[in-house]
Amino acid sequence: MSNPAKRQTTALDKALRFGLYAMLIAMAAVYLAPFIVMLLTSLKDVEEIRTGTLLSLPGSIDFSAWSKAWSGACTGSQCEGMAPYFFNSFKIVIPAVAISTLLGAINGYVISHWKFRGSDFFFAALLVGCFIPFQVILLPMARTLGWLGIANTTAGLVMVHVVYGVAFTTLFFRNFYQAIPVELVKAARLDGAGFFTIFYRIILPVSTPIIVVTVIWQFTQIWNDFLFGVAFSGFDTQPVTVALNNLVNTSFGGKEYNVDMAAAIIAALPTLLVYVLAGKYFVRGLTAGAVKG
């Protein structure tokens, strides 16, 4: 700014600014504190934890709690650490995210560009799915999985998450595709393209922002899910969240807080990573429908 009458920065301004930053830093600290405590605790040994305070720094950096949490800690009667369950979670999350995202995309495409009699009602009914609490469907879903013969399997959990996720993914894609002009689909129809050709050649290529949003959302939801995991998983298909719970609740002798903390951080890492890598697309994608680009 080359405004000649630029206002002088007064002492009061400086004080206010200082206060503002102090407040922001304090709030950030409050939010970060649990993670810092977890990280610090995971690097201490049991003796240090007992004698020191929550925020005291570890005497030496010690990763043994991490390796124990990863491959040696007991979760119930098994003592293989978090590793097998960590991979279990991936076996659930990857297909569940992929399938629910694809279904949501096709649903959204149909609801916004291939309207049929009752399609608005169909969409409204689907939306109700966003508001059904997890607990409500536990029993009927257990019956259904049993009937389908996929109770206690990874496939069963994938199905539960797909069914539950489709309502959200459809909503995301529908709102995004609503902003794509109908003429685009009309033009493609006149050019001779069919339903799936238009989807694959015209619609999907412009869907990157909303795919990123949906994948982040679904990944976080499914990875962090505990209730479905504990209710519908078998002994060897438990996701990482269930294993973490078992690990923390299993203790022979003294409580190993350092191992608990390391295990908790391990369980949270993938979602953290997804946010760090794709977070900026998330915000961009959420607002993409609002502003015509």
Partner: protein
Amino acid sequence: MASLVIENVKKRYGQTEILKGIDISIEAGEFLILVGPSGCGKSTLMNSIAGLEDVSEGRILIGDQDVTFSSPKDRDIAMVFQSYALYPNMTVAENISFGLEMRKVPKDEREAEVQRVADMLQIGHLLKRKPAQLSGGQRQRVAMGRALARRPKMYLFDEPLSNLDAKLRVEMRTEIKKLHQKLGTTIVYVTHDQIEAMTLADRIAVMKDGEVQQLGTPQEIYDNPTNLFVAGFMGSPAMNFIPAKVVEHSGSYALELQATQPTLVPFPSADSLKAYAGKEILLGLRPEMITEPQPHKEGAEFVVKADIDVEVIEPMGADTMVLTRISDAEVNCRCNPAYPAKANETIAMMFDTSKAVAFDKDTGQRIDN
């Protein structure tokens, strides 16, 4: 190239009837314009021709083929949209060749066709760009290129110029006309711009409330409108509608207007006014028929001179529009800029009623034909 026949086409959404029995037929190679105000059903009719919407009743024939129930891709037509509807993820070349690809045209033929179209529309230098990198006029050309590449039986244009600025619109209008003259294909073109309709069309269908009000050549529509709506819609400034009383005059009928003084004007087909003797009708007179007194017209059969009270002057360069009030209706006169008309003064004007038309005041229908 193919003829188009639309027979008694109706379209209903629930209880509301959008198209109320449309009958239009044009020859192969004709340029048909559907014109009318928003909501008159012209876009619905175009979508029905394209097959993007089903009709509730009636038949549509392209060439000799009944396509009423054919899917859009089987009708062999191409459409240019108002929003251009270019595929945003594809380059210009891919946009143009997409329709050919869908019709399984071999790659080398597609490339040759893209080149031909690009040369014709002078967009060769844009072929590798994405639509987002083009200006409005360039997108418009690409959209036309996409339609041209398939060499369909018929082209549909849905308000293709309305997103362009005024200057570009006039340029593209001329280019579309040139293109039609060169290719000689059948074109159906939707617009709400009556100047576009006049300049481009071989035939115009003026639509209102889901009905064709009149189908005819531009000159027919301009000179012989069937009703008040058509007369008022086509032409800018619009035709003047002057309330006039039908009076007996030397064995025939004439019209009495209230200019500065009560004025009697003759009417070409005076006998048609017989049923209205003593009643008021609406006299339709184009602005260019009320001018400054022109000596060479003096004494001609349907020419009358009268004084008017000038209200407003609007110089337009080539002409000057003089606004006045006759029989309590606002009236536009088109004068030579040299004519010294001044606001709030009284001046002589020449009324030429040789092309005047008359409408029933209540029904709005033409009386004199």
